[in-house]
């Protein structure tokens, strides 16, 4: 019975079908399946499958994004139950992600967020044109492990440094790992501003994040 349902759960994620994944999550609650089992034996199997296919170049980006959304929806449905049980899903780490102030380039940042979520990180994407205090405020609020900043303009990449300087000033630099990315971001730049890492693409961003939280 459960085996069947786990399979269905995984399939709903593979199909990127949020309606279905939420329905299955509700059903799991009704039949008193342990929410962690629903997640790890059911839904996560689907995410891993799509992730694998994506890595091999056989699944495409929209499939990955839709799987991510279906996963998010299922987990959100199960979350209140988990809390009731006083348990939490094991996560890789918490990441606050933003495109810096003055910059509205969104796609790269969002993709990095999607890939991080798909890889088990809890991602707080605070959007584009985000000022330093908003980024830092959010990181403190959610007790983030990593702050990720995207900047696509040569005029806005300096904001990445401002955030790092601000962290330094407030004595918070040691608390967060800072990673950066975007079209003009090079190794030289990230070393110069003393960030903890940079990546040219979303797959690299995941690898980097895992290394930084000591899970690689």
């Amino acid at each position: 019975m459960s085996e069947e349902m786990y399979k269905e759960m995984a399939q709903s994620i593979i199909d990127g079908d949020s309606d279905k994944s939420v329905e299955l999550a509700q059903k799991a609650i009704e039949i008193q399946m342990h929410p962690l089992d629903a997640i790890t034996k059911g839904f996560v199997v689907g995410v891993n499958y799509i992730g694998d296919q994506f890595g091999k170049g056989e699944a495409f980006l929209p499939e990955l994004v839709m799987a991510g959304e279906a996963m998010k929806a299922a987990v959100a449905t199960l979350d209140p139950e988990l809390r009731k049980l006083g348990e939490a899903r094991e996560i890789m780490g918490r990441v606050v992600l933003a495109t810096v102030e003055g910059d509205i380039h969104e796609i790269g940042k969002t993709l990095v967020g999607t890939m991080l979520s798909a890889s088990g990180f809890e991602v707080y994407d605070i959007g584009v044109d985000a000022p330093a205090d908003k980024i830092i405020g959010k990181a403190i609020e959610v007790d983030a492990n990593i702050i990720g900043m995207s900047a696509l303009l040569t005029t806005t990449m300096v904001r990445q440094r401002e955030v790092i300087d601000e962290l330094e000033k407030e004595g918070l630099r040691g608390k967060f790992k800072v990673i950066v990315g975007g079209a003009p971001i090079t190794r030289e730049w990230y070393e110069k501003i003393k960030a903890d890492g940079y990546s040219e693409d979303a797959i690299g961003a995941v690898k980097l994040a895992k290394e930084l939280v000591g899970k690689e």
């Binding site: 994506f54 170049g57 495409f60 980006l61 929209p62 003055g102 509205i104 796609i107 790269g108 993709l111 040569t154 005029t155 806005t156 300096v158 079209a183 003009p184 090079t186 030289e188 693409d201 979303a202």
Partner: protein, 483 residues
């Protein structure tokens, strides 16, 4: 040297990429989008203008919904023709629907150093060098700020860049790196120094602005404010959509065209509502994001189709078009770069896009290469030649020569041959040598293109900008820079 500008005109080739009915359908879809879905205008001034003209404005979300009539009436006020004025009036570019000009691409972040061949961060001296080389190159009709001057303060960077170009070239300057009100005000003052007064800019706009839209269905506030200031003084402004299938636009090409069109014509209508008759142009560089990574491809069959289709749209609205061409994802001036440059420029030229932007870039509009620039220029020359098509008349049918040679023999000694031989295209960068010669040197187009760039750069001296004007510009820039 090179006062002449090469442009494509009176083309003989034709291409029907969209039928009249299809264009009408895209237009209707566009108006539906603007009326029902709306477009985001995050600028106080823009929202006020829309509201004053009867559009529905959601101030919280900054979304504007406008009736078709409002948009269509406003678009009718766009001037169909005008010039992009050059510091040297002989080099003005006429945006009249019968000329295709090539510009340099813009806003690169790195440069392949012309001497060392190493990739490095772009700086002000690169802007100088590239514009001087463009000044010397007849294929380049006007400039975009080619790369960012990352060694000057960000708040006045866009101003340093346009000054550097005016100092190194007499051709028209267009920039995409002025996207806030402060810099726009200063840039207008600087342009006025060359035009001989702010009131002369309308007649002789020596500067034009390109602003990106923010797909899907949005704009950047700073860009809107800069565009509105430019429109007031008659500085031509274009809104460029880069809607990308899959990410910022629908996956299907028609839907992507409609989304981009909604962004561009809504902003264009705004400028006409604010300043009726302001010179505007349509600008576009739509693409399809890579299926596997979401990366900006800059090239590929979808891009090429967009290149031709967009001009049909801008013709429908009767405004000039600046079309993204020569974009490539190649990391080196190689097969991919050549293919993408040739296809995109062909598709955009055959439909007579007024401006092609532009030559010189690799790696998805990020890395400037001098060799790539020279090779793109040769591709443009090939397009220039091809658009002339095949002329059929008594002289070109060459019956006299054919009769004189008869069956067998050759045409090399014919007067007719000598009279017309210079019409045959003579490439600079194509390898037609004996194999053994190549084998002994192992060089190719890239080496020759680079050598040409080096030589021109060494030799070419542009007409100097009046030092007084230059000094005035420096003062204006100083006033914008933070202490």
């Amino acid at each position: 040297m090179s006062k002449n500008i090469k442009s494509i005109s009176n083309p003989k080739l034709k291409l029907e990429v969209l039928t009249t009915e299809e264009v009408q359908k895209i237009h209707d879809a566009t108006l539906w989008i603007i009326e029902n879905v709306g477009v985001r205008f995050p600028s106080k001034r823009a929202l006020e203008i829309w509201e004053a003209n009867g559009a529905a404005v959601d101030h919280e979300k900054k979304i504007v919904r406008a009736k078709p009539q409002l948009i269509e009436d406003a678009l009718k006020k766009c001037p169909p023709k005008y010039i992009l004025a050059a510091r040297d009036p002989e080099q003005d570019c006429s945006l009249d629907g019968n000329h295709v000009y090539l510009g340099t691409d813009g806003c690169g972040v790195e440069v392949i150093d012309i001497e060392t061949g190493q990739k490095r961060t772009s700086q002000l001296s690169d802007v100088r060098d590239i514009s001087r080389l463009a000044d010397a190159t007849e294929e380049v009709g006007f400039h975009w700020v080619p790369v960012s001057a990352q060694d000057v303060p960000p708040e006045a960077r866009g101003l340093h860049e346009v000054r550097a170009i005016w100092e190194n070239s007499t051709k028209h300057v267009q920039t995409e790196s002025i996207y806030n009100a402060d810099e726009a005000k200063a840039a207008i003052e600087m342009a006025a120094l060359i035009a001989g007064g702010k009131d002369k800019l309308r007649e002789r706009p020596v500067l034009s602005l390109m602003q990106c839209t923010a797909p899907p269905l949005g704009h950047d506030g700073g860009s809107l404010d800069a565009a509105l200031l430019a429109a007031e003084v008659g500085i031509p402004t274009g809104f460029m959509t880069m809607a990308a299938c899959l990410t910022t636009g629908p996956v299907t090409l028609a839907g992507n065209l409609a989304v981009g069109n909604a962004e561009v014509i809504a902003a264009t209508a705004l400028l006409q509502l604010a300043c009726p008759g302001a010179p505007v142009f349509y600008a576009a560089a739509q693409t399809a994001s890579d299926l596997r990574t979401g990366a900006y491809t800059g090239g590929g069959p979808e891009d090429f189709l967009f290149g031709a289709a967009t001009n049909v749209l801008s013709d429908f609205y009767n405004i000039p078009l600046s079309m993204g061409a020569f974009a490539t994802g190649a990391k080196d001036p190689n097969w991919q770069a050549g293919l993408e440059g040739a296809m995109s420029s062909f598709m955009a030229s055959v439909v007579m896009s007024d401006m092609l932007l532009g030559c010189g870039f690799l790696h998805g509009s990020r890395i400037w290469s001098f060799a790539e620039m020279m090779m793109d220029c040769e591709i443009f020359s090939i397009m220039h030649k091809m658009m002339k098509g095949i002329v059929v008349n008594e002289e070109t049918l060459a019956l006299d020569a054919i009769a004189a040679v008869g069956p067998g023999g050759h045409f090399l000694a014919q007067k007719h041959t000598r009279n017309h031989m210079r019409e045959i295209f003579l490439p600079e960068f194509m390898d037609r040598r004996p194999y053994s010669e190549w084998e002994s040197k192992k060089d190719d187009a890239r080496d020759w293109a680079l050598a040409k760039a080096r030589k021109k750069l060494k030799e070419h001296q542009p007409d100097l900008l009046d030092p007084k004007i230059s000094a005035e510009m420096a003062k204006i820039i100083k006033s914008v820079e933070k202490e």
